[in-house]
């Protein structure tokens, strides 16, 4: 290959994946209680269908999709519904959740069900099956997958891109999925290609996962145009727009979707889940979570029932070390810090990272010294220095004129800022303020 497959700018945080990258995925035993928030995906929250005292089996629907951009929620363990009420949510707020007391004597077998034969289904039927199974993007954003499978008729999709970058430090969920379940990933790709009727699929994997590249290369189908592309290790290589540029050389137009560049991007773990739905007929009730960080005693890759509480998950991994200082859902670059050990694992939770005191960002911030490091880091070529000073003066409209809306909150600017100015936090604030002002 003549040019390196990558994008310009970005940062190189420490990878820190050595804790779990070669640890086999284990299955976690069922906890005593699971909590299923109705808001687990981008879009409208699901509509609850059960009440306190109802008996549910594993895989039963407890909340239905409310509209097109929404996904149902299924019971991840058999038991009795204790309560439908308010519960802490990993985003820091509270949300309505179905709390299920897990039956310790249940075999956790799902009810008899029909496994759809995808070869005989039309594209619309495949989409429906995916939505009914509650599949959402497992890479973090949790966008309902069936929406991505339904591009508008006037948009021609040429390429399906499978995102196996996993550019966040520490996380190894996608890595282990590719190494341990390559056939499942390939089947998922086959189903998606059929559903989208695309001829070409490109799998992008960062070069720091040679074993994943090897296993996927070895299992490539001979009858389809699927190729594996090793990518430069750089954050945020796994951001949709960056990945599309690296693989196809095309820029997604500002304010548009990957569809407008003729591309659909899907995360490796989501693809695997689609295959699982058509293999077992079971909806999305469990996912692979990396529990890692230098603040956890036994870093592991676990198959975790959705709704498992953080407390149970940490106990499963030997608990926290004495110098544990911050717990993050997702990766350390974009993840959310947790204040409450009762928050549940969601469908979109890629990992739990426990950081130690010495790793955490220093608290003091200094004045901007206009070093320009943030401009060199921003993968979408914004001027975070200017945007940051505008944000401090609450000049939201001027920020919008300076392309604030192209910011994807990847955090490269904050990461690199020597003065420790919380740039991406300011931008998140500005975006929220602008949204509120528009709605008013």
């Amino acid at each position: 290959m003549l040019h390196k497959l990558s994008f310009r700018h970005g940062v190189h945080p420490p990878e820190l994946k050595e804790l779990t990258e070669h640890v086999r995925i284990r299955r976690m035993p069922y906890p005593d209680e699971v909590v299923l928030p109705l808001r687990q995906h981008t879009g409208k929250p699901a509509r609850v269908m059960v009440g306190a005292g109802d008996r549910v089996e594993r895989g039963d629907k407890v909340a239905a999709a409310d509209g097109f951009i929404s996904a149902p929620v299924h019971a991840s363990a058999a038991g009795i519904v204790e309560e439908v009420g308010i519960w802490p949510h990993p985003d820091g707020s509270y949300s309505t959740a179905v709390r299920i007391k897990v039956d310790p004597y249940s075999a956790q077998a799902a009810r008899p069900r029909l496994v759809p034969q995808w070869e005989g289904l039309t594209a619309a039927e495949i989409r429906q099956a995916v939505q009914d199974a509650g599949v959402v993007g497992l890479g973090g954003a949790a966008f309902p997958t069936h929406v991505k499978l339904a591009p508008p008729k006037d948009k021609k999709i040429e390429t399906l891109i499978i995102n196996g970058c996993e550019c966040e430090p520490y996380l190894t969920t996608d890595h282990r999925t590719m190494v341990e379940y390559p056939e499942r990933v390939q089947l998922g790709i086959r189903i998606m290609m059929r559903c989208l009727s695309v001829d070409r699929t490109m799998i992008g994997i960062e070069k720091n996962k040679p074993d994943a590249i090897e296993t996927l290369q070895a299992t490539l189908p001979s009858d389809l145009d699927v190729t594996v592309h090793p990518l430069t290790v750089k954050y945020p290589q796994g951001a949709e727009k960056m990945l599309i540029e690296a693989l196809t050389g095309r820029e997604v137009p500002s304010g548009k979707l990957p569809l407008d560049a003729g591309v659909v991007v899907q995360n490796v773990a989501s693809v695997g889940t689609i295959a699982e739905v058509f293999e077992t007929g079971l909806p999305l009730v469990e996912r692979i979570v990396t529990v890692t960080g230098h603040g956890i005693r036994n870093p592991s890759n676990l198959i975790v029932p959705v709704g498992t509480k953080l407390r149970d998950l940490l106990d499963m991994c030997g608990g926290m070390t004495d110098d544990a200082f911050e717990i993050v859902f997702g990766g350390p670059m974009m993840g959310a810090a947790q204040a409450n050990l009762d928050v549940p694992i969601l469908k979109g939770t890629t990992g739990v990272v426990v950081l130690t005191e010495s790793q955490c960002r220093r608290v003091q911030s200094y004045s901007c010294i206009k070093c320009g490091h943030c401009l060199d880091a921003c993968p979408v070529f914004l001027n975070p220095q200017l945007l940051g000073s505008l944000a401090k003066a609450e000049r939201w409209e001027e920020m919008e004129a300076n392309h604030l809306m192209d910011c994807m909150l990847c955090g490269c600017c904050s990461y690199t800022c020597p003065s420790n100015i919380p740039l991406s936090q300011l931008f998140q604030l500005a975006k929220a303020a602008l949204r509120k002002r528009k709605a008013a």
């Binding site: 200082f325 911050e326 670059m333 947790q338 004045s367 200017l386 990461y415 420790n420 991406s424």
Partner: protein, 334 residues
């Protein structure tokens, strides 16, 4: 489980290792060899002048600056750099006053670190140049006892310093401009020439700059573009008329060009934030330096060239904004 405190911050939860104080103090550390060279060439006078400038800068920061601002190291840099661009024989009280002006008027009045438009050290020197033109252009002759003072460093404030004529010399630029005498290239490069404290050893300054560039504590594009512009512009003129115009080597290693290009122009606060802007900024400085030196009334022009381009930085920043990803796309055939 015992209660434990957990940190809640916004993402990202990891950060790069460099902080503003580490950048500032590493610049101070990189100045140690330059100060060492000044002491080697000018003896105790170097210590007195640089010390007085530092004391002026740091005391002003301590008294008028925000609490704890001294610890970020920026006042120390300003003080040392100011000292390095002053003549070795300058009375200490003038150097001290220059330091006070640099921090007080050059930085704090704009709102402190990061807010100033002009390089504080150069602004301090410009102030001294305007206030004490004779003292600022009196250069000691080289040689003599290392322990002797190179001028009346200990003069009392507002007393005219005693400057015995026998002790004064001239800088290579002054010699070239007013007496049409050239200086040997080897002397220029090694630094055994008359001039300000830090104007002597170009090689040491370049090496220190290289260290900072490798640690990404200065934008290498600025010195590269300044030196390239000066070399090409003056080299071209030298080819046209070798008698009238000095060689590129002379232009590069004489006067304050090295310390200006490596330490003054690269001040992060007063240089452009975009990389393309840095090239333009450096080109402007290099061009102005050559114009002032060859056709202006002054022998040296680095200070005014940098201050003038400092004033242009907001315009350069605005004109060199990079193209935002996904905007202004050309219609590409697939």
């Amino acid at each position: 489980m015992t209660t434990r405190s957990l940190l809640i911050t916004a993402s990202p939860h990891l950060g790069a290792r460099d902080t503003t104080p580490t950048i500032m103090w590493s610049v101070v550390a990189s100045l140690v060899p330059v100060v060492g060279a000044a002491i080697y060439y000018f003896g105790p006078s170097a210590v007195l002048v640089i010390g007085a400038a530092c004391a002026g800068a740091m005391m002003t920061e301590l008294v008028f600056g925000p609490k704890g601002a001294l610890k970020d190291g920026s006042a120390a840099i300003t003080g040392i750099l100011l000292g390095l661009v002053l003549p070795p024989g300058l009375p200490m009280w003038m150097a001290f006053l220059g330091g006070v002006f640099s921090i007080g008027i050059g930085k704090l009045i704009f709102g402190g670190l990061g807010q100033n438009i002009f390089n504080p050290a150069l602004l301090g020197r410009a102030f001294l140049q305007a206030a004490f033109p004779v003292a600022l252009t009196t250069w000691p002759a080289l040689g003599g006892d290392w322990w002797s003072l190179r001028g009346d460093n200990l003069a009392l404030p507002l007393m005219s310093p005693a400057t015995p004529d026998a002790l004064t010399g001239a800088t290579p630029l002054g010699l070239m401009k007013f007496e049409q005498v050239a200086t040997a290239d080897s002397n220029l490069i090694m630094g055994s020439i008359g001039g300000s404290l830090g104007e002597t050893s170009g090689i040491i300054i370049l090496l220190c700059g290289l260290y900072l560039a490798l640690r990404n504590h200065l934008n290498w594009r600025i010195p590269a573009s300044i030196l390239l512009t000066v070399a090409l512009f003056s080299g071209g003129l030298h080819l046209l008329d070798p008698v009238r115009y000095p060689s590129a080597i002379f232009m590069l290693f004489s006067g304050g060009l090295m310390i200006g290009a490596v330490y003054m122009a690269t001040d992060m606060v007063t240089s452009p934030v975009t990389n393309r802007g840095c090239w333009i900024f450096g080109f402007g400085i290099g061009f102005l330096v050559v114009v002032i030196r060859l056709w202006g009334g002054l022998p040296e022009g680095v200070m005014y060239a940098i201050l003038l381009m400092n004033a242009m930085v907001p315009f350069i920043n605005r004109a060199t904004q990079p193209r935002v990803f996904g905007t202004r796309l050309k219609e590409v055939g697939s």
